[in-house]
């Protein structure tokens, strides 16, 4: 037998011993599920591959097998709330098995604020179906089979009259597999007991007790510790390796060289780190071509020589903006720019891989990889390609890392671990250094924007936005190891660049102000690497990176587009003599958009207007059709141009709220990270090497610029105004609010000192340069 079907594995119809051991006290999930006795029930929904959810009930446990993973945003708690609501239980009663290519259905990527939106509804229906089935069984058992609605559920038991039966007792007799029935009634809004409450996060107690297993904590018997050595630049190639120096470090067992991937493997992490630290003297590189120059990046983005496609963003295009703008009146044209930005997770990426010489006889798995990936299914395929194995022989187990905010180094680190484990024939844990995370993580790209608009008596009459940006999409592709750094360094090419800006650089490039009659957005797509002539595919000869590999970072193009759009909106309002908040309200037809903006009125009317203080607002409807966010920011600007954001108010509507405190936590996180991007963050490179490879130290230290993030004494006071819409669909909250922050802060700086800064981050130098001269 080569493999056990996932289905029988989950329901436990066959006795399976699974070689899955997490040390020291990791969740022995697979074994306990496999060992479950015959009494079981499984509900499956399979309307489409991305909305598949499994719920398994046995007398021992109720388990959610979910491809949507906890990224530190509270998803596990919110999903559990949704399930137990229908089952009339509490969150403590369910277990949640996260993405594992062997155990859970593929639910695509956990990203884009889509977890609840895509994952919760199927689970909810599955839970409702399970409850209805249990209720029928209970009715039978309690002697009222013809009227199951009469049996009442409470604390894991059903009762009718003075008789009761527990869920567990019913499940011990059950043997049912069924598909979720979308017609089974759901708990009515008025009767919700768990959904809509601030249930504490289920994962936090273990995290505070240090008993939680992050991916960096995964430990296997016989595991070795690895470090990789990265090339001197994106386009560098290996010249020579002298293995003698690292091998002389006590504890080092192997020096691995595969193409341009160099790694050291040792019995302990200190030895691996020690050997890797001196790599500058024993691993030598040939310099490759420089990337586009960082210092003139904006010009490069705007240069047609660097574009591979010109596209129009279609859905909201209307009227004839170019003609109206050419017809005179109060017309403005302004340029904006945002830099390359890092995810910059607090934990440098780590991963563990166990690549065996032969497949496991029961599961067929030969390579198992523990990773904080946002998409275990695609990572599995890419690693299979890297290792030259069929995808069915590779298992990727999601294990939480530090918060990632998008596609960071997690997948690439997993590929490194897989390569090293394959080379040495033992499980290997790879810990990237901080310098490798900052230097090699895929990043959110820079973008340049030109906005043209006209304001007249009725408000904004025309709007034309042209953006210039590389892709925001280079996630692993299931068939292509070239989408992983280790693949690229071993001769594979990355995936072709996308044909459009949709769901990428173009996100939120359009605005949803329905009363702007003429509206147009064009995008110029910038090459990240050399391509075949006139095409999107990577060049097959002389391939070289032109820019740091760019990818999905929280809200993708939404952050830079909304910075440009909403800064420009204020510039038009000022040119037309209009109040920027009231003009926004006036330009909307959508009452939910108006509601979030109107919620800012109290803050706005009480705003400071003197002494270097001022306030700004900005609005965004995420992806033009999801959550609404309107943000108010108050700043104080000192004589030297240093901006401090002192207070923020965010009004937020993401439909039905599952967990109000969890939602507030997300909004706060968005705002803090947004302020950090607005004021401090910028990736710098020289030739083909990123040079911002550690955190910017606190004053009085100052190095050459490093990657600066907001510190505790720079965080504003935050107020969240959550507009709950219990009868509307649930929309995600992981990233809608961050888009509003850049413009809210820039608009506040303008209000405070008259300096219009059109380039992020808003540094003291830029503020001073933009100040009106006395």
């Amino acid at each position: 037998m080569s493999a056990v079907s996932r289905r029988s594995f989950l329901t436990g119809t066959v006795g399976v011993a699974v070689s899955f051991v997490l040390l020291p006290a990791g969740p022995a999930v697979a074994r306990s599920v496999a060992a479950a006795p015959a009494g079981r029930m499984r509900i499956e929904e399979s309307t489409s591959p991305t909305s598949l959810a499994w719920l398994v009930l046995t007398p021992e446990a109720i388990t959610v097998y979910c491809g949507k993973v906890e990224l530190g945003t509270g998803i596990q708690t919110a999903m559990s709330q949704v399930v137990v609501e229908e089952l009339r239980l509490t969150v403590a009663d369910v277990r949640y098995v996260q993405a594992d290519t062997l155990l859970t259905p593929s639910q695509g990527t956990t990203a884009g604020s889509k977890s609840l939106q895509e994952g919760a509804e199927p689970l909810r229906h599955a839970a409702a179906t399970a409850f209805a089935a249990l209720q029928r069984m209970a009715a039978q058992h309690l002697g009222t089979a013809d009227a199951p609605e009469r049996v009442k559920a409470r604390d894991g038991a059903f009762s009718w009259g003075n008789r009761t039966v527990t869920y567990a007792a019913l499940l011990a007799e059950a043997d049912l597999e069924t598909v979720a029935d979308l017609t089974v009634p759901l708990v009515a809004t008025a009767d919700l007991k768990v959904v809509g409450r601030s249930v504490p996060r289920v994962d936090l107690p273990a995290k505070l007790r240090a008993t939680f297993t992050y991916v960096a904590d995964v430990s296997l018997p016989g595991m070795l510790h690895g470090r990789v050595i990265r090339p001197s630049g994106r386009n560098a190639t290996l010249r020579s390796v002298d293995k003698a120096p690292p091998m002389s470090v006590p504890g080092v067992t192997d020096v691995v060289v595969v193409g341009n991937v160099v790694g050291v493997v040792a019995t302990g992490e200190a030895a691996a780190a020690r050997a890797a630290q001196s790599a500058g003297s024993w691993a030598l590189w040939n310099a490759g071509p420089a990337m586009l120059p960082w210092a003139t990046l904006e010009d490069e983005l705007r240069s047609p020589a660097n574009w591979y496609a010109e596209v129009a963003e279609a859905p909201l295009r209307r009227g004839n903006a170019p003609a109206v703008l050419a017809s005179g009146g109060t017309v403005l044209e302004r340029n904006y720019f945002t830099p390359f930005l890092m995810h910059a997770a607090m934990g440098a990426s780590a991963s563990v891989a166990d690549v065996r010489a032969a497949p496991d006889p029961l599961t067929g798995i030969r390579a198992t990889v523990w990773s904080g990936s946002q998409n275990v299914t695609n990572l599995r395929g890419a690693i299979a390609d890297l290792l030259g194995l069929p995808a069915a022989q590779v298992r990727v187990v999601y294990t939480e890392a530090s918060g990632c905010y998008g596609h960071n180094g997690a997948d690439d680190c997993a590929a490194d671990a897989a390569l090293l484990s394959k080379a040495v024939g033992r499980p290997v844990r790879v810990q990237w250094t901080r310098q490798q995370e900052h230097g090699w993580e895929p990043q959110g790209p820079a973008s340049a924007h030109t906005l043209k608009g006209k304001i007249g008596a009725t408000g904004i009459e025309a709007w034309w936005h042209t953006l210039y940006a590389p892709t925001h999409g280079s996630r692993p592709v299931a068939t292509n190891a070239g989408t992983l750094v280790a693949g690229q360094l071993t001769g594979k090419l990355p995936a072709a660049l996308p044909a459009t800006a949709a769901n990428s650089a173009g996100r939120n490039s359009q605005v949803t102000y329905a009363r702007i009659p003429h509206h147009q957005v064009d995008a110029k797509l910038v090459r990240s690497f050399t391509t075949v002539p006139g095409g999107r595919a990577p060049a097959t000869t002389g391939f070289a990176w032109k820019l740091p590999r760019s990818t999905s970072l929280r809200s993708l193009g939404g952050f830079s587009n909304t910075f440009a759009n909403e800064s420009f909106f204020d510039e038009l309002a000022a040119a037309g003599g209009r109040d920027p908040l009231e003009l926004r309200i006036a330009m909307h037809e959508d009452s939910r958009a108006v509601a979030v903006l109107a919620a800012l009125r109290p803050a706005w009317t009480g705003r400071p207007t003197s002494g270097g203080r001022g306030a700004g607002v900005a609005f965004q409807q995420y992806e033009l059709e999801n959550a609404y966010a309107a943000t108010y920011a108050e700043v104080v600007v000192d004589a030297g141009g240093t901006v401090r954001v002192t207070r923020m108010v965010c009004a937020h509507d993401c439909g039905r709220v599952v967990n109000p405190d969890g939602l507030r936590n997300q909004i706060e996180g968005n705002l803090v990270q947004g302020v950090s991007r607005a004021l401090k963050e910028e990736t710098v490179w020289r030739n083909d090497t990123v040079t911002t490879t550690v955190w910017q130290p606190a004053p009085p230290f100052s190095l050459a610029p490093q990657y600066a993030v907001l510190r505790f004494d720079e965080v504003p006071e935050i107020e969240c105004i959550v507009i709950d819409r219990p009868d509307e669909p649930m929309w995600g909250a992981g990233e809608p609010a961050i888009g509003t922050v850049g413009a809210a802060v820039a608009n506040a700086v303008f209000a405070a000192v008259g300096a219009r800064v059109r380039r992020l981050p808003i540094t003291p130098e830029r503020v001073q340069a933009a100040r009106p001269h006395a």
Partner: protein
């Protein structure tokens, strides 16, 4: 081969290393099974690896096993050894003061030493928000910097103040 006997959360533990530059962080994780201290940056910038050595917040990613004091054996305290009922972790739960929580080890252990020293000095006042923020921001001279990337800062400050109140009672 260097051996260091320490008292880890009150229990005697021997750490061994064959490299005088071996970092304390790796020894605590591999040899003593500690998961509280984490590798965040490895270069003393973020605080994720913080442990207390004789009640002094110490960045275990850059301090070495060999440098631990020997006589008497160093008292090393980690998040793993902190009583879950202690006011600090409890306050973090009460305030839901985390997102991914990867950074939290630093704020808990760094504040633990700070708040204990305040209590020992008879200080009854709860530190202000700005005092807590300043403490966690660091000045690279007297105090360390603690970083959080998820934006849980305000909640973390609230939690530390709540714990301070409790600990001063």
């Amino acid at each position: 081969m260097t051996e260091r006997s320490i008292r880890l959360n009150g229990a005697e533990v021997t750490l061994t290393t064959d490299d005088p530059l071996s970092q304390l962080l790796y020894a605590l994780r591999e040899q003593a099974g500690q998961h509280g201290p984490k590798f965040g940056c490895g270069v003393s910038q973020c605080g994720a690896c913080t442990v207390l050595v004789n009640d002094v917040p110490t960045r275990s990613c850059v301090s070495t096993v060999a440098a631990l004091p020997t006589a008497p054996p160093a008292q090393v305290r980690t998040l793993d050894g902190l009583d879950p009922g202690h006011p600090l972790p409890q306050a973090f739960l009460d305030e839901q003061a985390a997102q991914c929580a990867f950074c939290i080890n630093g704020m808990v252990m760094g504040s633990l030493a700070w708040l204990e020293s305040r209590v020992a000095a008879g200080e009854k006042k709860v530190p202000t928000r700005s005092e807590v923020a300043t403490h966690l921001s660091g000045d690279n001279a007297q105090t360390f910097t603690y970083l959080c990337r998820c934006g849980a800062h305000n909640r973390i400050i609230d939690a530390i103040r709540a714990a301070a109140k409790e600990m001063a009672r």
